[in-house]
């Protein structure tokens, strides 16, 4: 390669909002549900039905806009985007083109290259489409309108990112902000957060942008990173061969690690946007903005500071716990029940994260209750069970949310501190391991460790290790 290239990336991020009801009707937004059960005349596009705006959608959009330093458009409107597709029951989508609710914001990201601000061009509100299921066997397509009308915001960034690392940092930052606001759970794999990547390349030092492509179907951070690398390489190869990059939409296939052209600019649709006549313009007063601002929850930086101040946690703990809203929520709920903030923090940072990793799970998939978690922390901290037992019980709490008190009681796992019972076990171990006894007596201090271990094993890990040690020394 004779030339060095710079990658220029902008993102369009769709986020499903966590409202209980849809954007323009009273139907439930709950995920799952038998097909077409969360529907009504409005979200199935029945003739004569009319949309009525869910105010919570406006408030969530404003909250995200304020948290990303955007200006709120105080007179904003909805527009119709016209296109034919069966998942779109009206054959138009109610969206915002001319006057989106938020504009001109940005978030700060941190990468190995340092800190930088990624600009946000706009955030607009719109409705989601239904879901098409293609039944190849029957050669038919089936439509489920449960998702039709679920509220979305689309966050359009400026073309400010230069690498996959920056893109991931930006997405993680957005996700964290939105999760903290409670505006969405932002799950890429379930589609409640979706990112389309606009990418072009140009020679380092050039000021004009190259021709960009838009990449869709990116379902994980890993896929996004791979797609960026793949598309960058594809475009550079074209340029090196003296071929033009065509402005088009491409679909990423993460299994094949390759993207396919979906449609080019030439056959791009004309969406014939025009102001939605069934909805009145939204007037957002200064007071309304102030109310939403006042209700903004504690964001990560504030939480990190508070954890150190209020709970005396090290900065490292505070950073990890606030790095995911699920950790922070679990931490706070558990500490409220059992105190012991540092112990709770340790259990989250070590055992919980290990279990998540081992099971390939995300933090928001944690399903055990703070109640059972708190009981376990208490049992371990009070020495009622040994560390070994505590770790075993935790795995069950993690997997099945068992009640540790009842379980430990039922299985008889409480630490044995009864000297009579322990003395018998220790005597048995001494009798069975003459070589180690010999070694110890000959001054090999290490040998006692082996003997403690053997005793613990005999006691199925329930023995009070301090007492075992003491008894061994006494009997030897």
């Amino acid at each position: 390669m004779s030339k060095t290239y710079e990658t220029v990336i902008g993102l369009e991020v769709h986020v499903e909002l966590a409202t209980k009801t849809k954007i323009f009707c009273g139907c439930s937004t709950a995920f799952g549900g038998a097909p077409n059960t969360h529907t009504c005349p409005v979200c199935t596009g029945m003739p004569g039905s009319l949309p009525v705006l869910n105010k919570q959608v406006v408030e969530y959009a404003m909250a995200v806009g304020l948290a990303t330093n955007c200006t709120i458009t105080q007179y904003c409107k909805f527009d119709r985007k016209n296109y034919f597709y069966p998942d779109n029951p009206q054959n138009y989508q109610i969206s915002q083109l001319y006057l989106p609710i938020c504009r001109n914001g940005g978030v700060e990201i941190e990468t190995s290259a340092g800190k930088k601000v990624v600009g946000i061009h706009e955030i607009h509100m719109e409705e989601d489409a239904g879901k098409l299921v293609h039944d190849e066997w029957e050669d038919v397509s089936i439509v489920d309108y449960n998702r039709s009308g679920v509220p979305l915001i689309e966050i359009v960034s400026e073309p400010d990112m230069r690498s996959a690392e920056e893109v991931i940092a930006y997405l993680e930052k957005l996700r964290l902000i939105i999760q903290y606001l409670g505006a969405s759970d932002c799950k890429l794999n379930e589609g409640s957060m979706r990112a389309d990547v606009n990418l072009s390349v140009r020679g380092v030092g050039e000021t004009e942008f190259g021709t960009r492509t838009e990449m869709k179907n990116l379902n994980s951070f890993k896929a996004i990173a791979r797609a960026i690398e793949g598309e960058r390489a594809r475009q550079i190869e074209l340029l090196e061969e003296g071929k033009p990059v065509i402005q088009e939409t491409r679909r990423w296939d993460d299994n094949k690690e390759y993207s396919y052209a979906m449609r080019s600019k030439e056959d791009a649709q004309d969406y014939r946007y025009f102001p939605e006549p069934d909805l009145v313009p939204i007037s957002i007063s200064d007071e309304w903005i102030a109310r939403v601002k006042a209700r903004q929850p504690e964001m990560r930086t504030e939480k990190m500071e508070r954890y150190q101040r209020e709970f005396g946690l090290p900065a490292y703990d505070a950073e990890i716990l606030t790095g995911d809203k699920a950790f922070a929520d679990l931490f706070e709920a558990t500490v409220a029940l059992c105190g012991r903030p540092k112990k709770v923090s340790n259990w989250i940072m070590v055992e919980t994260i290990r279990m998540l990793k081992d099971n390939g799970m995300d933090p928001d998939e944690i399903s055990f209750s703070p109640e059972h978690f708190a009981k376990l922390v208490e049992l371990a901290d009070e020495g009622a069970v040994t560390n070994t037992v505590a770790k075993e019980v935790f795995e069950l709490v993690f997997r099945e949310d068992i009640d540790p008190d009842a379980y430990v009681e039922e299985k008889g796992l409480k630490t044995v501190s009864d000297e009579g019972a322990l003395r018998a076990a220790v005597e048995k171990v001494i009798a069975e391991n003459p070589q180690s006894v010999e070694d110890y007596r000959n001054g090999k201090e290490k040998a006692i460790g082996f003997l403690v271990g053997q005793t613990m094993k005999a006691m199925k890990g329930k023995a009070n290790p301090g007492l075992v040690n003491q008894l061994l020394r006494e009997l030897l």
Binding site: M46, G48, S49, L50, N82, R272, Y273, F274, D278
Partner: protein, 486 residues
């Protein structure tokens, strides 16, 4: 005694007094329909069984005192673009030939709550696109005064049904004159309320920013009474407005002393039939005699109303009618290849020529590169027209003019020249663009015996002023029954 010759309020009071039952009224209407439908073709659907069953239910509620309103037990016909749960709703289009709604339009629901007995659904121009009721996929409706003439449109079925006395009153919808113009052609009274007064929920949209449901009846008293029932602030319609006053019948007083009436010169220019002109100016004279101050003035910009209207209404229609695609309900073509093939074929076969023309026009004016030149310019024109009316209403309480330039044309005369047909909407369209209320009521007949209507226009939310003026004029003449009423 012919029950169908009574006004809705007269019939309602007789039912209330126990002189007539709701079942007898419904039966009389069904008999009239049976007798006249072949000649008039006002209805797309007649719900005989439903009407009789409903009449019996209503009568029971009247007997036990739970239904006491002025319209309880009175039979009504509903324009076929308003959804009625369980009852076929076609918009007079092949594309909805089998569409049975799962819910009832808010205005119709309010009528039902007041004890109305629905007889069926009336014929109209397909999707309310037309001025003659000839674009219906289910055959044209004929004018009850002379069956060789059109009844007007698009609410031609509703107006003809009232004039032919197949029902006591009807609901219509008005996007560019669709209540007032056919009322004028059929010699009945029709009122288009201020935009936002009657909920559009369940009205199958043509031009969403212009559509309004309104009453069609024999006289002003009926219209005010019906409007009082159907007007509401509906949370299901975001464009619905909470008004200060819903007591429209309070304006039924024969007193126009001191009322300022403006007569726009622009409404009496070229293209106006001299007989219509004379009859309409006679109304101004009568109101003057009763103490109103009548004055001519210039209402500018009216010539821009027609192009602005057709751009805005068609743009909205092109999007509103997109949902009729053969996927979820309605007509789907028999054989097709691939999804877009199904769309194209279903829509090509399902829509009539006028609907297609307006969808194409609307798609064109919204398309990239033309939006500013057409759609945006039309919106600006709309705002200027509203301003011109604001200026006029600073000086006048009511604006008086014709409802249409001519009396009802012969069948087949209009569709041959759509531009001419569009120009026929000149006196009604500006009212929709400005969101104003307007009423059309009979004021005479031409030499061929066809009715002439006068239009009274009020400022936004000033229905009471036009009702008062209309009522005062109505006192000067008696209602003329159409030949078909006999």
């Amino acid at each position: 005694m012919d029950l169908m010759s009574l006004t809705a309020v007269e019939l309602g009071s007789r039912i209330k007094a126990g002189e007539v039952t709701a079942e007898e009224a419904a039966q009389a209407a069904l008999d009239a329909i049976e007798k006249k439908e072949k000649a008039v073709n006002s209805f797309v659907t007649v719900d005989r069984e439903g009407a009789l069953r409903r009449a019996a239910e209503v009568q029971k509620k009247i007997n036990d005192g739970t239904l006491t309103g002025p319209l309880a037990g009175v039979p009504v016909a509903i324009k076929d673009n308003m959804c009625t749960e369980g009852l076929l709703t076609t918009c007079s289009s092949k594309i909805l030939y089998n569409f049975v709604p799962t819910y009832t339009a808010e205005a119709v629901r309010r009528l039902e709550q007041a004890g109305a007995v629905i007889l069926g659904k009336t014929n109209m121009d397909e999707f309310a696109m037309g001025s003659t009721t000839e674009t219906s996929a289910f055959g044209e409706t004929k004018n009850p005064w002379n069956t060789e003439h059109v009844p007007g449109g698009s609410s031609g079925g509703s107006c003809a049904a009232v004039a032919a006395e197949e029902c006591s009153y009807a609901l219509g919808s008005d996007t560019g004159g669709s209540i007032r113009q056919p009322s004028s052609f059929c010699g009945v009274t029709g009122l288009k309320p201020t935009y936002g007064t009657v909920s559009r929920y369940g009205l199958i949209a043509y031009g969403s920013s212009l559509d309004q449901i309104g009453p069609i009846a024999k006289d002003v008293t009926d219209c005010a009474t019906i409007l009082e029932v159907i007007a509401s602030h509906d949370a299901k319609d975001s464009t619905s407005v909470l008004r200060d006053d819903y007591q429209f019948t309070g304006a039924l007083v024969d007193d126009v002393a001191g009322m300022r009436i403006g007569v726009p010169r622009d409404y009496f220019g070229e293209g106006l039939d001299p007989e219509v002109r004379e009859a309409v100016l006679h109304v101004a004279e009568e109101l003057k005699k009763k103490g109103a101050a009548v004055e001519e003035f210039d209402l500018s910009l009216v010539e821009y109303a027609i192009p602005a209207y057709y751009v805005i209404a068609c743009a909205e229609a092109s999007s509103n009618l997109a949902r009729f695609d053969g996927v979820k309900y309605g007509y789907r073509t028999g054989e097709y290849e691939e999804l877009h093939g199904m769309y194209k074929k279903s829509r090509s076969e399902g829509f009539g020529a006028e609907a297609k023309r307006r969808i194409m026009l609307g798609s064109f004016v919204l398309s990239s590169g033309y939006y500013d030149a057409y759609y945006l310019k039309a919106l600006r024109t709309k705002a200027l027209i509203k301003r011109a009316f604001d200026k006029a209403f600073a000086s006048y309480d009511v604006i008086l003019g014709p409802a249409a330039p001519t009396t009802a044309p012969r069948l087949g005369e209009s569709l041959a020249d759509p531009i001419k047909m569009y120009l026929g909407d000149i006196y009604t369209i500006a009212v929709n663009l400005a969101g104003l209320p307007g009423i059309s009521l009979p004021c005479g007949k031409d030499k061929n015996g066809l009715p002439i209507g006068v239009q009274l226009i009020g400022d936004c939310f000033q229905e009471k002023k036009i009702i008062r003026a209309a009522y005062a004029f109505e006192r000067t003449r008696s209602y003329e029954h159409s030949p078909m009423a006999m």
